[in-house]
């Protein structure tokens, strides 16, 4: 089975792109399943079901969604193998711009959209910078100039990625993307022992542990303060 990790900011068009890509893969008799990771709520699993795609969803709830992803990916891959899939796609939203679920030697796709603003490439960390393929969506509603500026900025933070424009509504570009996702020689038996491409931040502060009160007296562990400039005066 092949594994591909797709991630990107909320509402960037991940599900639409994946659905169009699956359509193209089905034409080639490649069986695809999806595991959708989200935080509090998603009904994207219904969209996949409707399209006849085997799907599971995982809601991280009170846990950091990316940490939740890594803690579950092994079992998720086992599920995909039991389902006899040719290709398993995991879909997760990048919520803090600092983490990324990408795994070494596993194909990674980042989906971002033209509407998110031209400074977005600068703001997103490893999720964009260490992706193998960057898919840019919503190109049909912004000007050609903005598309060019946006993709040149993506290129300057991740020059080695393949950058593609895909229209999640009409599917323009989805077939082309699908040809880059499945590769028979990239089959895996599992992900045990594989490594993340980039470490996730080490955060453990009072609020991680359920503290709700505000004030220095209640803060323990990893606490950091904004420099407001007063300390030099």
């Amino acid at each position: 089975m092949n594994l591909v990790t797709v991630s990107g900011p909320p509402s960037s068009g991940k599900t639409s792109v994946i659905l169009k890509v699956i359509q193209a893969l089905k034409e080639r008799d490649i069986s695809v399943g999806v595991v959708k990771f989200d935080c509090l709520y998603t009904d994207d699993d219904i969209l996949y079901q409707r399209a006849g795609v085997p799907v599971k969803k995982g809601l991280s709830g009170s846990l950091c969604p990316d940490h939740f992803f890594v803690s579950n990916i092994e079992e998720v891959v086992e599920w995909g193998i039991r389902e006899d899939l040719d290709l398993l796609i995991t879909e997760s939203a990048g919520l803090c711009n600092r983490c990324s679920p990408y795994i070494k030697d596993i194909k990674s796709v980042c989906v971002i959209d033209n509407l998110s603003g031209i400074n977005t490439p600068k703001k997103i960390g490893p999720m964009l910078k260490s992706a193998d393929i960057v898919v840019i969506t919503k190109g049909d509603i912004v000007s050609q100039a903005e598309r060019e500026v946006f993709s040149s900025r993506v290129n300057s933070v991740n020059p080695r990625a393949i950058t593609m424009h895909v229209n999640g509504l009409t599917g323009q570009g989805a077939f082309e993307l699908s040809t880059l996702l499945y590769d028979e020689s990239a089959n895996i038996e599992g992900v045990q022992g594989k490594e993340l491409r980039f470490p996730m931040p080490s955060a453990l502060c009072s609020y991680c542990l359920g503290e709700t009160r505000i004030g220095e007296a209640y803060q323990m562990g990893n606490v950091r303060k904004i420099k407001l400039g007063d300390e030099n005066e």
Binding site: E27, E146, E176
Partner: protein, 352 residues
């Protein structure tokens, strides 16, 4: 490439490759004070804590910079060598696997071809085939040639050099900038040397297309539909690197469509235009008829059609004049329907 990164200082790199400032900027690398060090030495100054803090992957930053320099050098040297003179579409099949109704269609630069057919008939697929420079490896099995040859794969993956620029009806400006700032931004991303001159040229061309003039200080989001379209077209004609322009319909309001097409064509672009507007469709040299996912036929615009087009343009002028005068607060009378034809005879347009 990695050799020069090992030996050249950041100052030397910046002198040789001025564009790397974009790389530093977008990756938020502040190299000030490190100009006399190599890039590797600069990266070495980050502590483990800082790397974790700012999610810096120093090994990747080093490798990426060398890829970036290679790509940009290639991109800058590209303009002259890689001129696209012609685009050839070789037939594939429609949705049911039937062979398309043509063998081969070659479109040369400065030519206009229109695309007609009902919604969902396969226009997107045709555009995607061209964009991807299909080699019998898409659902239609079409082949795309550039200058009569199988094109470089680079067209598919390069983010700075896409084969196709697209202009569609739904497109909007989303940035919060003035026209000037916007054009400068685009010009800079295209590594244009004389930014001011190009900006002037574009606004001039855009105003020449738009019904109502606008200035460089106008915020792009407050341009009217016609002005936005005019700016997009002028900008694409003059500043876009893509040799092929796909237009999805140009609305009839607030923009001179004949001039718009002329501008694109005069910039050596190959223009493909999906439209059901008779004026635009007949203005093209040829039109592609799409049906059931395939090209049913390619029609050459006939002499008779060109004569019809002349009449249509005359009718269009009447409407444009009325639009113009209504805007000024004038009243309309039958006199508007009387026009001079090309032989100087008075013609009355009879509306049946």
């Amino acid at each position: 490439m990695s050799n020069i990164l090992d030996t050249m200082t950041i100052r030397e790199l910046q002198e040789k490759y001025p564009f790397i400032i974009n790389y530093f900027e977008e990756n938020r690398l502040d190299v000030e004070g490190f100009e006399d060090k190599t890039f590797q030495e600069y990266l070495n100054h980050f502590t483990e804590e800082e790397k974790e803090e700012w999610a810096l992957d120093t090994r990747k930053l080093l490798e990426d910079l060398s890829s970036y320099i290679v790509q940009m050098v290639e991109f800058l040297g590209l303009e002259e060598e890689k001129k696209v003179e012609s685009l050839t579409i070789i037939a594939g099949t429609d949705k049911d696997g039937n062979k398309e109704g043509f063998e081969e269609l070659t479109i040369y630069k400065s030519e206009i071809v229109s695309i007609v057919g009902p919604t969902g008939s396969g226009k997107s697929r045709l555009l995607a085939d061209i964009e991807w420079a299909a080699q019998k490896d898409t659902p239609t099995g079409r082949t795309i040639l550039i200058n009569g040859e199988v094109p470089d794969k680079e067209w598919r993956f390069s983010s700075n050099n896409k084969l196709v620029a697209q202009l569609s009806q739904n497109m909007n400006f989303v940035m919060d900038l003035t026209v000037k700032e916007f054009l400068e931004l685009h010009a800079e991303s295209r590594m244009v040397e004389d930014v001011d001159r190009v900006v002037e040229e574009i606004i001039e061309a855009a105003n020449n297309l738009a019904g109502e003039r606008f200035s460089l200080d106008t915020p792009i989001t407050s341009l009217s539909g016609g002005q936005s379209r005019a700016l997009m077209i002028a900008d694409t004609a003059i500043l876009s690197s893509s040799p092929i322009v796909l237009i999805d319909e140009i609305e009839n309001a607030g923009i001179d469509r004949k001039k718009a097409l002329k501008l694109l064509v005069s910039s050596d672009k190959i223009v493909l235009m999906a439209t059901h507007d008779p004026i635009l469709a007949l203005m093209a040299d040829k039109r592609i008829v799409i049906k059931n996912g395939g090209i049913e036929k390619v029609i050459e615009t006939s002499k008779e059609e060109k004569r019809v087009l002349a009449e249509l343009k005359r009718m269009d002028n009447i409407i444009q004049n009325m639009r113009h005068d209504l805007r000024k607060g004038l009243t309309i009378n039958y006199g508007y329907l009387v026009t001079d034809n090309h032989k100087g005879h008075r013609n009355i347009v009879i509306l049946k």
